[in-house]
């Protein structure tokens, strides 16, 4: 309004705004003082740290995708730079744990263990490793990068996404080694082996959703990052990595409950594509697998985005 006296821009103070409302489950509403807000509007100022609408948020994240890609590439490079074997550990670690579980459960389970035990175990551990690491590193992606968050402005979603990207970069060497190991155990390739690739694509969706959810939850409850290894442990034992469900129970309700766990379904799918003698997934299992993989990223995105203003808080 040009009618107002020159220089008489109202000082944006006085009238106290309402108390900042408690955070809603999904979002944070912002209550503003009308005098200051009006003046800001008049001169084209926008509120700092405000969460942009979802569309603009995603567009901005896409524009800055190279930051996420570079961050994840560098994190892979730096990841094991302190140790002698360096990035070889990416491959060695899962196989070392496979050896330990193989020895342990091979002995404990005795004749109850699945036939073809070592390939069964290797496929399961490799599949699970991708999931567990995305979950764990996704949860730490905001709290562990506090100095990036408090000194640079970028859509925070790039951090959990870069945690998932990092694991995609580490994925292929692990799978190459798995294929070599399967060949060594005389598991001969079939066209079905190629189905692993779309399965890993679906799993990436699932993992991204989970990384987004856990990244935000860890901001609210820091202790979550201490609990996640235990959740992972639980899922590991519940995902048919060293047993087949049918050998454990005949109770159909219990079996169906197990099959709601998408990690179990992914492990089973990999088993059925890579190894002979496995039943294909049931319709129930496919529904759970695809359902989670589509639902979680959508929920994760909304859940993460709605707290965008929170992430810079230093606590």
């Amino acid at each position: 309004m040009l009618g107002s006296a020159p220089g008489a821009v109202p000082d944006a103070t006085r009238a106290r705004p309402e108390r900042f409302p408690r955070p809603a489950l999904l979002g944070f509403r912002h209550v503003t003082n009308s005098a200051a807000a009006e003046m800001a509007k008049k001169y084209g100022l926008s509120r700092m740290g405000a969460r942009p609408p979802l569309g603009r948020y995603l567009a901005e994240a896409w524009r800055r995708r190279y930051f996420a890609i570079t961050l994840s590439r560098y994190t892979v490079e730096a990841g094991d730079s302190d140790s002698r074997l360096g990035s070889l550990w990416v491959i060695v670690r899962p196989f070392l744990s496979a050896v330990i579980y193989g020895l342990l459960f091979g002995v404990i389970l005795g004749p109850d263990r699945p036939h073809n035990f070592v390939p069964h175990l290797l496929v399961g551990v490799t599949t699970f490793e991708f999931f567990a690491k995305c979950f764990d590193q996704g949860a730490k992606s905001i709290t562990g990068n506090q100095s990036l968050v408090t000194s640079l402005a970028f859509p925070r979603i790039l951090l959990p996404i870069s945690a998932v990207l990092r694991n995609i970069f580490e994925l292929w060497p692990m799978w190459v080694v798995l294929v070599l190991a399967l060949l060594a155990f005389q598991q001969w390739p079939s066209w079905n082996w190629l189905l692993v690739i779309p399965m890993l694509g679906l799993m990436t969706l699932l993992n991204t959703g989970l990384a987004l959810i856990s990244a935000r939850l860890t901001v609210h409850f820091r202790d979550l990052s201490q609990i996640i290894p235990f959740i992972n442990r639980l899922l590991f034992y519940g995902s048919g990595i060293f047993f087949t469900l049918q050998s454990v129970t005949k109770n159909q309700t219990l079996i169906h409950l197990f099959q709601i766990n998408p990690v179990y379904d992914f492990v089973e799918a990999m088993h059925s594509f890579l190894l002979p003698g496995y039943e294909p997934l049931t319709q129930w299992e496919w529904t759970a697998l695809i359902g989670w993989s589509v639902l979680l990223p959508v929920i994760g995105l909304l859940f993460f985005w709605s707290a965008e203003e929170r992430y810079g808080r230093v606590e």
């Binding site: 000082d11 103070t13 003082n33 509120r47 740290g49 930051f67 000194s151 929170r310 606590e315």
Partner: protein, 246 residues
């Protein structure tokens, strides 16, 4: 347009910042059942309001822990205000002396990453690499991981990265206090250039001399409240008078 119609660039409107900290050195977890007691609320900013107009260079002074850095982080939108709001014409850039970007990575990679994080395209980041390396004066150290850098060195590198981009609103948090004489001169020169390019600057400093040299308005933050706002000489005098009492 008459010169008296001044355009606001930043409006800080009754900003409060509260956050929770785990107080005392005691481990919170030990007091099972009563652990909430270990958490204390810090009221870092208590209703700060002011309006900054185009071309102004604001000096922010106050004792340690008075809320100066919190104020800058809130203006930049990184630390959310618990009450009130900050409005600005464009995203302010904050130059702080915080920790390294990614301490395990070497300087080259941190430069590249920092430039991308500022919103540059890979090509732009590539193009500004030489400028950043040159400006930081750390060329022979850039192949070492940043965790081996001294705090002065890593602040210099961060400062140089941020300097590679033009900013309309620049927030400088004691960056001038770091680095050696040559680097300080270079930074002051660059800040003056940036100011001529359009900008508005905020400078947080404990050096009254650099406030008087570079600012045309000063704000004194005391225990999270705005104590005085005005001409730098007046504000600095009042501040120094109050500290002399101690």
């Amino acid at each position: 347009m008459s010169s008296s119609e001044r355009r606001p660039v930043v409006i800080v409107d009754d900003v409060h910042v509260r956050y929770k900290v785990y107080a005392t050195g005691r481990r919170v977890g030990r007091r099972v059942g009563r652990f909430e007691r270990g958490i204390k609320e810090v009221h870092a900013l208590r209703g700060v309001s002011f309006t900054v107009y185009e071309g102004e260079n604001i000096g922010v002074i106050g004792h340690n822990g008075s809320g100066k850095s919190t104020l800058l982080r809130t203006v930049a939108g990184f630390t959310p205000a618990s009450e009130g709001a900050v409005y600005a014409t464009s995203q302010p850039s904050l130059l702080g002396v915080g920790s390294a970007l990614l301490p395990r990575l070497d300087g080259h990679k941190n430069i590249n990453l920092g430039a991308l994080a500022l919103g540059m395209t890979p090509a732009e980041a590539e193009a500004s690499y030489d400028y950043i390396a040159e400006f930081s004066g750390l060329k022979e150290h850039l192949s070492y991981p940043m965790r081996t850098y001294s705090s002065g060195m890593s602040a210099r590198l961060k400062f140089s990265i941020a300097m590679a981009k033009a900013h309309q609103i620049l927030l400088v948090d004691e960056a001038l206090a770091v680095g050696d004489k040559a680097f300080r001169d270079r930074s002051e020169k660059r800040i003056r250039e940036l100011r001529e390019e359009a900008g508005t600057t905020f400078l947080v400093s404990h050096s009254m001399q650099s406030i008087l040299d570079t600012c045309d308005r000063a704000i004194w933050i005391d225990h999270g409240e705005l104590r005085l706002d005005g001409d730098p000489q007046t504000v600095v005098d009042a501040y120094e008078a109050s500290t002399a009492d101690l």
